[in-house]
Assembly symmetry: C2
Homo-oligomer: 360 residues x 2
């Protein structure tokens, strides 16, 4: 093959490509041609900038900017190179506490030049499997899951691919997945203990559905443990089941509190959203908090400090978990060795405010 032939075939190839290409979007080779260098150099310019001469580098970057070149990470990821995306699977996004977690997580990952593929499964673990598969198809570099209840199929898929996994929000002693979270059981225990310390023994609880929700389950268990430890009975009519929704919680609380002869002196809520509903119910019924009834929540969401009366609750460090998780995952992605099975427990903090008081 002569020199001329080579040139011709290359030109033809280039033309061919040019035609097929999506309108106008220049590729790495277009940049290379215009800058008068080879494709390899352009590639190195992005991936190992130190290995190309500063002069050349600047020229290439300038050319790339002129052409509006945007590299294709999908093509890069074929070479075992990371895709630069991280998956995050949450039960739902529309939930104060997860929103905070997600915000912190994505913001921190953006710092690391990575983006987040996000998906929610609505507390349906079967759907979670599909979601994880879908994320894996997109070649995520790592994945974070909320909670410790997960389908074994999902875990299996992740194990097989050997990508870093992190479970968030709840600690899990028994599973072998690393986690960053709080001890939800102790959150429930602490806030209950607080009520007991204040002299309450007529205690009602309002928790969301605990099926497929290990966070709520642990919190409730913590609460029950505290009650049991002090031999306090929980009558069935005071074991209220109520969804994560202020309006519904308000309704349920009105129902609970209407019979004033047989009302509890303290109400322990599975989360602050429910507690808000209870506080609103008290206002509606003219019941004084904390004089007539103490109300406590779990979560310390953004309204809890300003609501009247300010809510006694347990602070769960959502932002910190999100941030830490992002850092941890990036570290695990970069450092292939450190696949230590770590359980990070961030302590919760009882925040005593105006909504809880001594039993009169």
């Amino acid at each position: 093959m002569t020199q001329a032939d080579i040139t011709k075939s290359q030109v033809k190839k280039k033309n061919n490509r040019r035609m097929r290409q999506r309108k106008g979007a220049p590729g790495l080779l277009d940049v290379a041609a215009r800058a008068g260098v080879s494709g390899a150099t352009v590639s190195r310019c992005y991936n190992h900038p130190d290995s190309v001469q500063p002069k050349t580098r600047h020229l290439i970057l300038k050319t790339a900017a002129e052409l509006g070149y945007i590299r294709d990470r999908a093509a890069g990821s074929l070479h075992g190179r990371r895709s630069g995306t991280v998956g995050l699977v949450v039960p739902t996004i529309d939930n104060a506490i997860f929103a905070e977690l997600i915000e912190a997580f994505t913001a921190q990952l953006q710092q690391h030049d990575r983006t987040v593929l996000i998906a929610s499964h609505n507390y349906n673990l079967d759907q979670e499997v599909d979601i994880i598969r879908s994320l894996l198809e997109r070649r995520i570099d790592a994945i974070a899951l909320v909670g410790r209840d997960h389908s074994s199929v999902a875990i299996q898929m992740l194990k097989l691919r050997d990508i870093p996994v992190l479970t968030l929000w709840n600690t899990c002693d028994e599973t072998d997945l690393p986690s960053i979270g709080t001890n939800n059981a102790s959150a429930g225990f602490d806030v209950t203990q607080h009520c007991i310390d204040l002299g309450h023994s007529r205690i009602a609880v309002m928790f969301p559905d605990i099926v497929n929700n290990d966070r709520a389950r642990d919190r409730k268990q913590g609460t029950l443990d505290a009650l049991k430890a002090h031999d306090i009975e929980l009558p069935e009519r005071w074991d209220v089941h109520c969804p994560y929704d202020t309006a519904e919680a308000k309704l349920a609380a009105v129902h609970l509190l209407k019979q004033r002869r047989d009302a509890p002196s303290a109400i322990i809520c599975g989360n602050d959203i429910i507690a808000y509903g209870v506080l609103y119910a008290c206002q509606q019924l003219g019941i004084q908090v904390p004089d007539d009834v103490s109300v406590v929540g779990i979560g310390d969401f953004s309204h809890s400090s300003s609501i009247e009366p300010a809510l006694t609750t347990v602070r769960l460090p959502a932002r910190r978990i999100g941030q830490l998780a992002a850092n941890k995952l990036v570290a695990r992605i970069l450092d292939t060795e450190s696949s230590i099975n770590e359980q990070i427990v961030i302590p919760t903090e009882l925040v005593v405010r105006a909504s809880s008081g001594y039993h009169q």
Copy 2:
């Protein structure tokens, strides 16, 4: 480094890669080999299932399941094939109304077997450019942006790639981008008109920062328009600037309402979060709502119907926007023709509740 060292390190590296790769993750060709068919047939099995014999198809799918095969969409996207991901850029995730939007958007896209790459720019339009570039590097099939304020660089990048773009949340008459949203100006106008209709003329407003936030800007403009239409003056001390935060709003409202001689009879809040803060401030100060002061918000967030007194506000259909946007983008991805520049305006709805009343 000696020659021997180099060789050793290279061998190690290669082994390492080989391990990761072959570790357990089977590829399309592994499935093909095991099923005794060619790679092409396996590929078709996923992309054009009708073109392969049912018997063969079942065999292949069974084999794939046995092997735990997960396809690599990055490799597919090299062929101009879509990546199956859609970008969503929001100012922030940790915000009731965006969370709702995001939830609806991602849920709807999951229905279409697509996942969402999400990123937030914290009301920083320069950062938005980087984010959009980063999303384009991941070969998103389409993108949704919140609001109509965007860097021209960003728009240019998107135009060049010719991917479907949709702006959400706010209508934009002047730009040439299609949009799905509400008329924020009329939301502000309506709620103000409502107060004026109730006989109020001593009106204060509390809005968040309107720089880089066209939604807030439009709402405030609508409010000012309504006031002007009725020749109502807005004294500077009643033009309160306050962040999107209940606690801060409460502080600002306490400051505003403390001087009871010179207090407004109605307070118009740029969003419900601020309105909650105002309501809490009134409770703290013992000011009766709506007898002493009427309070109205914009947004109709989840607490607004249950807070005491229930908040008069304007309903913004966040879920519907998210859902519609997802459908629209998928339609635009599939149907290359329909790139009509459409502006969909979903009407807002004034929701009158207990927090607003006639001026005494």
